[in-house]
Symmetry: C2
């Protein structure tokens, strides 16, 4: 079934208000979940909402906690997220980084004790829509093996880079695994193999079978040893700059809460959009391989999905929709 | 054959002085080339020195040019590298970013019109040895296809992250291709296949044969579409923040000079090294796959190679050593 953006937003805001969220953050969190579904990031939109509410009910997310500034060094502040809703804390942190960057050229906020931000691209885009380059990262519970290892001991720590460009910023929002577990589950449900190897099977061989990778818990880092190393460095970056929990500490809790994040903003006095035009057009000008109809810039497919969903409605699973309706 | 670090450094400094480099930069550039060989990054050490000198002789590198500050916004400065030696400009830029970060918490220098920095890890390590997190990137001539394309239209733009940790910082220094062309050439010369697919052959199939990938010019980006997207974003970041040349513009010149780079430094008042210890030890605690004897942190193999080379001498190709001796 399909619902309009307004229907979804109104429903989620209403549920959050009934759960006791202050109106400002019911509005913000409801909007972010709805925008994620609207933009085709279904895994972190409505689909994820019930487990978010479960974490609120379990007291792992402090619905009305306000993040607190615990340190400041000119253009860089350190915050304690007080275990507030991850989307709310991340949004406020990037907003603050934008203000700092307008004053200092650069601005950053490191945050400890926060929660899952759902889609990191949201906060990169926030900076880019304010005319800034936005870069952010978060750690996660461990779900990726280190290079040469077979146990999940690294987070799937996402890296986000957003850069202003004419009407719509370019947004890269990438986790460190080649395929997320959510994406592998989608292929498994459709009964399809992955289009490329996504991990190792129980015998230690590269596999395109989502079920056997999900069973072995040996997802493949992007670029093999390179993505494993980048994941480790991002965890170290967000946790040591904030003084917060690392992926190992989060994993030891058994539940994914109390994360560490970092938000960086760069404020250019002017940016020449022709440079981005040139880079995009040059990439697009390549001859295509036989499986490809067009080359896309980072974020382009997301904007196309948004346009389609705004015109035709956002696809939702009926059971999840009904589940949220009944909350 | 093997030479000591001092022998290599003295030789390179002498050649640079004879070529008319000012003493300070003959010393700095000679040291950086020698340290790259010492640390096992042979492709960007002595081996690369003759082609560096060729570019100086051809006037593509202005040996004694001094980078010029052309813009400033508090914690972020924009420089024109004046086509100086890339190592010299990059070293000065990160030094300045460190000073800015000490004053503001964050510091950055964007640079246009600079040249190849050889090993990006050098400048990340400079920041980390000053107690800061150092992040930097550069663009390059196009040598990587965009995702779905078959022509090289993206740079192999490296991303460097260095984080202080006890005696030796952790250093990630990674290009966007799974294997560099230099590394593929090494395998080809040894007559060995790559250990993992490194690109496509002429028929568009993934290949582990370095010769056929070098012929097709279709190297594989790390993480497939993800690395291609990150490469595009890094080019956009360094060129639009500096107002400098993009990978397409550099490629149009036919020769790799006049690059754009970005240097970011984050100065923490204190960093708790136990967080890094915890992350490293947790990763190392994984069970190993059957091909692996140990799990390493980013930079660890480099430090081991350095130690070995300082004790036993740095391996060099006799022809290259003699070629430089005769300069």
């Amino acid at each position: 079934m399909k619902v309009s953006f307004e229907e979804m937003f109104n429903l989620l805001e209403k549920v959050l208000l009934e759960k006791g969220f202050h109106p400002d953050r019911a509005r913000l969190c409801g909007r972010i979940f709805s925008e994620n579904s609207r933009d085709g990031v279904y895994s972190h939109g409505l689909t994820r909402f019930p487990s978010f509410i479960q974490m609120v009910d379990a007291g792992l997310i402090n619905k009305n906690a306000e993040p607190e500034r615990i340190g400041s060094q000119g253009s860089w502040e350190n915050w304690d997220g007080q275990l507030g809703p991850g989307m709310y804390v991340a949004y406020r942190a990037m907003e603050r980084a934008i203000v700092l960057a307008r004053d200092h050229g650069l601005g950053a906020v490191s945050v400890k004790n926060t929660n899952h931000w759902m889609r990191g691209g949201t906060y990169g885009r926030l900076a880019a829509e304010a005319g800034c380059v936005g870069i952010c990262s978060s750690n996660t519970i461990a779900n990726l093996p280190p290079w040469g290892g077979i146990d999940p001991r690294l987070g799937n720590n996402p890296l986000v880079i957003a850069i202003p460009h004419r009407e719509e910023p370019l947004v890269l929002d990438m986790a460190m695994s080649q395929f997320s577990y959510g994406k592998m589950q989608e292929y498994e449900l459709k009964g399809e193999p992955l289009p490329y190897p996504g991990g190792y099977n129980g015998e230690g061989r590269l596999s395109m079978d989502p079920a056997e990778i999900r069973a072995s818990k040996r997802a493949l880092p992007i670029g093999l040893w390179k993505g494993a190393a980048l994941s480790l460095m991002l965890d170290l970056l967000v946790s040591s700059l904030s003084g917060g929990k690392s992926s190992p500490s989060i994993t030891a809790q058994g539940k994914e809460y109390g994360l560490s994040q970092f938000f960086l903003c760069i404020h250019p006095e002017k940016m020449d959009s022709r440079i981005a035009d040139e880079i995009i057009e040059y990439a697009r000008g390549s001859r295509l391989d036989e499986n490809t109809r067009a080359i896309f810039y980072p974020g382009e497919k997301m904007y196309a999905e948004r346009k389609k969903n705004l015109a035709e409605g956002i696809p939702v699973h009926r059971e999840i929709w009904n589940q949220v309706m009944a909350m």
